[in-house]
Symmetry: C2
Subunit: 882 residues, 2 copies
């Protein structure tokens, strides 16, 4: 047994001692050290907890001795005494570990009360009901925590007594009622534990400390620690603090206040308080609290004292604070302070203001804004102060909110939009045929499909809200309506969707417009000064490219050429190309596509002038561009059923046959990426030619396009070697034909496990690597994202089999391990090899930190996440350097 | 320039000098050294070739000098002279590199002929046409190889002259015709090269050597070397040898003979020869060759000399030989010897016989039999001596051959079989509903599906021939026929299928029964003594298990429980279980399945008494057990089309809805494996209970079952940790209920890239790893096997983008790298961790070698490949130790 100090008065500790005093104890100590009016108290340390277990779950005499000494000091400080019947010292006893374990905390309030001292409290407060209520709470908490008596037994008695006295709320009980309750509570304790409730306050204290230490190893706590990977050796501390009461009369009260406005960030005290009430009452919302300005009017001195404390705390913690306080008989006590939660907009403003006020550094400001929150500022969103009831939840496929009339058909959506109506396109899933409908709609809601479904990808690209895979929506297209639960929503009725949360609402919901403040721009400029990673955007169209530049992207990291193929006017030509059987037959449709693609590239290069543009050659399997196979099968079957024998049937059968030929069991692992380029080199050649001809046009105008041609889905070096030869051959032809000299680079997506482990060989033929972590996550885990997110992945995250959805936060152990192997092998082969990431993880802060740590050169994300990435990249650099 | 020896007489070399003399030169030297009658000659070395390139593609004086000296020796030995007009020495000049590069070799025959010496050859042979033919061949070869004149020019002249003289074959030409040809050939050379054909034989020789050296770096050779990863630095040697002619009259001839019968392995000379003919004529088959026995009758002395040489060569090379010989005017010359190609049966017999005759060691015998060939001996097969025309080719999904009447329906197949008819079941693809039809059929032919399709897997398990994905077959089920090309095959017509090659034949093809000779068993017993790897079988049924033991399997490495689910009598219960919505509703069907599964396991454990049995819990996605989704969709659509509104439609719609709910975009990456076990633990618990109850029954009888419970598709340690808890909990219940103590182990398939890189953590919870290299190959490459093998993979192999189909031969660079990482990480965590492989690679010799090298404990393969694996494992051990 150690003979070291195991009990600390608050004044002896500080914020650094969290490991020894627990989070709660250390913070109370810190405030005490600052000279703030904290109710005095002391802490029994976590090492005492460990000793407790070493000694077979008993408190040593040494600890008891130190507790007694601390108690004496506390009594001296408060002028009260635990054992006193007239002027009793009442205590709160709380557990507090190094890591916060919400819901695991055992707490006992009002400790010290007994049959006699409760009357003293009644007298002091002038409110016997209040005193009795305190006593019965102590009895229940003590019974529950110390004696393990089911709290249901106490609650039942309370209900019975209320019923007997015919009152709804316990506040309405008569004194007689309270006496009955206290008496019956004591009976429960005696009956269940075999002993009467201890009237000796010291015995109460020692038993409570013992109980809190024991609670460290209850089943609930053990499971919680295992799930959250918290070490069992840390132990919990016990904080013992003098009780203060805000409900001792009209010169008492409790409140909660933010040092700045948590909605707007404005530098003005923001909070509310209740006279003659405890803190819980403010939170519970039974009585309407008063604004802080009233406190200023009624008690200017206390208000002044409080605002001074706010300044002190802000300067001390260098951050906006959220403070709980209580006034007991005209005396102010600070119960707790913590960094204030706030909206994204407020977070940005407060952080910038604190820097400008000299309270914190730019680095601190940058670290305190949650990058993920920034996305909110770029999209229209639902007013967060509203309390709304969603009718369904789907996948949050594209952020932002919108409302409009329900429309089930893309053509109708377009028509309504032209008529000036706002519409939400509702489909089971969308296809390229629906693109004009998506363009026309405020947002998209689909009943099927995942985060990478057509609707999701297209909507994200356009920055429109989208909810996908909302299975609660049962669409009846024939009747032009959908069912959700018991409700029926007809075409033309208004709904609202929130693509950030996946919630669907009936009717129009008030929206808040996006706001890009000066503080926002300033904060990001600081981030740009500090970050090492470059930030690019994924952009497929000139429109996306412009948006990307507006948000500060330093190039395009992924331009998906297939999205150009999907546009409504091009799709028929693409289909013509696919349905052609031979290279000869493909020639005409390809020659039609060439000028279209070239035009796209010219516009994109113009938008990106001076910045690199990574263009990925055609990636998806060809059947994605053809009509739906099942629909065709049904159509043909129905035509036959009807006895139809005409040319329509014949035509459909021919089409179906082709679609069947291209059908794949697992399209994700099928004939796509460079596998298309190798088997159909003419398609890739057309694309390379379109790129190079576009480059030549711009070079002729004196501009400097920087194309990076990216070969997708390479798994073996030889694939890239052959593709590179084809690219160089075609580029050489264009250079000869146009007489323009231009440069370009050729690289590959690293998106297959095999590419990672053979990255050394692949690097021989690559000017750059771009990690496609979406597909790499799918193949590394063997998860089809479209299937997993709707089926077992929520179960996995909920049951903590996986810590996070690996499609959102990069899985460092598995996927990240493979990425690291590829970085190492690639750079061993080619030390200066440029590397980036273009999967969706490129916009996720945790993943961006990983990209920084393994030494990537850039991340690329959707235009709307560029700001997130810029800030997250700066945070990663800052964290690494500290 | 080096001054070392760069020209070797044959007598100065030996077989070890392949690097210096090339393969061809070294072998001729070796035979010369053995005192065999090889036409004499010499070799210009590969180092001379390298010097040639260092000197800017010129032959140094030093080399020319050494060539002249060797030529003098050769002239002395033959008694002829290169420059002589009366008794000219004619030469062959051939390239010969260290590695054989077929089709890359440049050859010039009859070198030394000119306008004068050709007449001496005419006189010596008594056949001027022959001599002129030799001359025109020299002109063409010299023109082609040395002067790079397009050989088409010569061929056109030959055609023109034949036409002018109205003959079909050049042999029918008159002497005048030959004169015309030679004259016009010389004109071509003069016109195209600007110089007359050199009449000086020495000039011919030097130019030819130069041309052969130059050919090392022609485009064709460079590409070939790159594709076959042969170093460019090796260079080629040039072999210069005196010509011998077997067509100099009736005392001349040529032949080819095997020292033993290549079909049966019988120890008896086997070959044929032609009188008055060159070697090419024997091969070309224009004249019918004579059996060797006739040579014995006509020239007993030469025959005796030849058989002595055969013995010498067999003893020298310790292997059956395939020998080319020529008799020039009564004198025997050996032109070439090499190890004889033979059937699998002969290979086994010859190897065992050679050991028993003391000619080679057991180790050599084991290394000389190709393990893959052994499979042939276990299945009925098509007589390889027949020359048949297949009408279509599909995927070789299950080896062996069969014939029978075409049947399109499983029920009909069963009925016909009961009537004593042999049938081949022809389907677009099979489902569990067809199992009884597969049982009844001789073999299965499907027009769709890959090597892992239902038909393929089931047929392989039953050891029946199967061809899958035969897309040339267009089935019209309504008309009960299929089209293939222009032909129509109706139900009841006979076809033959060869599941080893994938070929389909019309009509009945003669079959050879399987043969397991004593030699076969002996050879395998030697293999068993030497191998380190254990060999297990993949077996799902008691029948498979028995077969596996018969073939020598030392346990079951993979017992797929879903195949038990697929049997016709169980499927309805399985479907009932799947269609149940809740755990409660699943209880009844699961309780029906429990005794069925337990019964299966009891039988399997009995068959495997004393050997371990690895049982994989349910792996495939649940929708695999349900009716086909598309068929249901069509059925429902057609019912609606007909205006049907009854309970049938309702029932189908409910079923369809369930099937739709379970539908997955990429089932390979979907809700399967332990993902099922985690979400539906009751299913896995039922299986564990069935296993444990079966074990308890056998233990009670005094038997020793050795169950190994395998959790599939683990990607994260936590999955296995949770599953292990469930297994142990259920097994504990069974132990308590039965009162029987039993032991079992719990392990996992390693079949995902993430499992490989996190194998250290997974090993914590595993008693064994079994590498599922089928799925690991799919995820590592991002290849869906079902799609890739029908689409781009053949293109990849054909164009050498990949060296082999990675589903057949384990890809060491990628998949193997991940397997190695897992082995290292797993053993670091748990040094004695048992590891095996249960993917199809477990039956492939190259892959087995890899498994041996990385230190796995066992391989597991289909029962029919156990013999292959036993031999391959021995070879791997032998190769490593040498």
């Amino acid at each position: 047994m150690s003979q070291t100090k195991q009990v600390y008065m608050f004044a002896e500790g500080n914020a650094e001692m969290k490991k020894l005093l627990g989070g709660k104890g250390a913070n109370l100590a810190e405030m005490t050290r600052l000279g703030l009016p904290v109710p005095p108290g002391f802490v029994v340390t976590t090492t005492a907890c460990n000793d407790f277990y070493i000694q077979g779950q008993t408190l040593t005499e040494e600890i008891k001795d130190q507790v007694s000494k601390a108690l004496s000091l506390l009594e001296k400080e408060t002028g009260k005494s635990l054992e006193s019947q007239e002027n009793p010292l009442l205590l709160s006893v709380r557990s507090g570990a190094y890591f916060s374990m919400p819901g695991m905390m055992d707490t006992i309030l009002n400790l010290g009360l007994n049959d006699i001292s409760v009357e003293s409290l009644a007298a002091a407060s002038g409110n016997r009901a209040f005193a009795m209520d305190c006593y019965r709470r102590l009895l229940q908490m003590y019974g529950d925590v110390v004696l393990k008596i089911d709290h249901y037994l106490f609650e039942r008695v309370l209900d019975e007594v209320k019923k007997a006295y015919k009152v709804q709320k316990s506040q309405q009980l008569s004194l007689e009622g309270w006496d009955t309750i206290v008496a019956r509570y004591k009976q429960i304790i005696e009956k269940e534990s075999g002993k009467a409730f201890p009237q000796d306050p010291y015995e109460q204290l020692i038993n409570s400390i013992t109980a809190v230490f024991s609670s460290w190893n209850n089943q609930r706590a053990i499971v919680y620690r295992r799930l959250n990977q918290i070490s069992d050796d840390l132990g919990t501390a016990v904080t013992i603090q003098a009780m203060v009461f805000g409900n001792m009369g009209d010169d008492s009260g409790s409140g909660v206040a933010f040092t700045r406005n948590p909605s707007t960030g404005e530098k003005k005290l923001y909070g509310e308080f209740l006279i003659n009430a405890q803190g819980e009452d403010v939170v519970a919302g039974i009585r309407t609290p008063l604004p802080m300005s009233l406190l200023e009017e009624e008690s200017p001195q206390i208000y002044k004292q409080f605002t001074d404390i706010c300044d002190t705390l802000e300067r001390h913690y260098r951050e906006m604070q959220d403070i709980e306080f209580t006034i007991e008989k005209g005396r102010l006590f600070i119960l707790q302070t913590r960094n204030g939660k706030r909206t994204a907009g407020a977070a940005v403003k407060v952080s910038v203001d604190l820097v400008e006020e000299g309270i914190c550094t730019k680095e601190e400001a940058l670290l305190r804004v949650d990058p993920s929150q920034l996305v909110q500022l770029l999209h229209q969103r639902i007013d967060p102060s509203l309390d709304l009831n969603p009718v369904a939840q789907g996948l949050p496929a594209s952020p932002g909110a919108a409302w409009g009339k329900v429309v089930f058909d893309a053509d109708l959506a377009e028509r309504k939009n032209l008529e000036g109506e706002k519409v939400i396109l509702v489909r089971s899933e969308t296809t390229p045929d629906d693109i004009h409908g998506i363009v026309a709609a405020q947002g998209v809601l689909t009943s099927r499909g995942g985060m990478t479904s057509h609707a999701a990808v297209v909507a994200r690209g356009m920055g429109k809200p989208c909810i996908s895979g909302c299975e609660a929506i049962k669409i009846d297209f024939n009747a032009s309506l959908f069912h959700v639960g018991e409700r029926v929503i007809k075409e033309g009725e208004i709904i609202s969707i929130d693509g950030t949360t996946g919630y669907v609402y009936i009717g129009e919901v008030p929206l808040i417009p996006p706001s890009l403040s000066e503080e926002f721009k300033l904060l990001l400029s600081w981030a740009d000064d500090l970050r090492v990673l470059k930030v690019r955007a994924n952009a497929d169209t000139p429109r996306d490219a412009r948006k990307a530049r507006e948000f500060g992207a330093e190039g395009i990291g992924l331009c998906r050429t297939e999205h150009m193929f999907m546009e409504q006017d091009r799709l028929p030509v693409v289909q013509e190309m696919i349905l052609a059987g031979t290279e000869e037959e493909r020639r005409i449709p390809l020659s039609k596509l060439l000028p279209i693609q070239q035009g796209d590239f010219e516009q994109i290069f113009r938008e990106m002038e001076g910045f690199p543009t990574t263009i990925r050659l055609l990636d998806p399997p060809l059947h994605e561009f053809l009509p739906n196979r099942e629909e065709l099968m049904i159509e043909v079957a129905c035509l036959k059923e009807r006895g139809e024998r005409g040319p329509l049937l014949e035509e459909k059968e021919v089409l179906l046959k082709k679609v069947q030929n291209l059908h794949e069991f697992n399209p994700m692992l099928g004939h796509r990426g460079c596998r298309l380029g190798l088997v159909f080199p003419d398609i890739y050649r057309m694309q390379v030619r379109a790129i190079c001809q576009a480059v030549a046009v711009l070079k002729d105008e004196g501009l400097e396009p920087k194309p990076e041609i990216m070969i997708p889905l390479v798994g073996d070096a030889r694939e890239l070697e052959v593709m590179r030869e084809i690219v160089e051959d075609e580029a050489g032809s264009v250079a000869r034909e146009t007489g323009v000299e231009f440069s370009y680079s050729v690289g590959t997506m690293i998106e297959l496990p095999r590419a990672c482990v053979t990255a050394g060989q692949i690097a021989v033929h690559a000017d750059f690597f771009s990690f496609g972590t979406n597909d790499l996550t799918q193949t590394t885990f063997g998860f089809s994202r479209d299937d997993a997110e709707g089926k077992f992945l929520p179960f996995y995250v909920q049951h903590k089999i996986l810590p996070e959805n690996p499609f959102v936060v990069l899985d460092r152990e598995g996927v990240g391990n493979l990425v690291s192997q590829a970085v190492t092998l690639g750079r061993e082969q080619k030390p200066g090899l440029k590397m980036g990431i273009c999967g969706e993880h490129g916009g996720d802060p945790q993943s961006i930190e990983f990209c920084h740590l393994i030494g990537l050169n850039y991340v690329s994300c959707s235009p709307f996440r560029v700001a997130v990435a810029r800030l997250a990249a700066a945070q990663a650099a800052l964290k690494q350097s500290t």
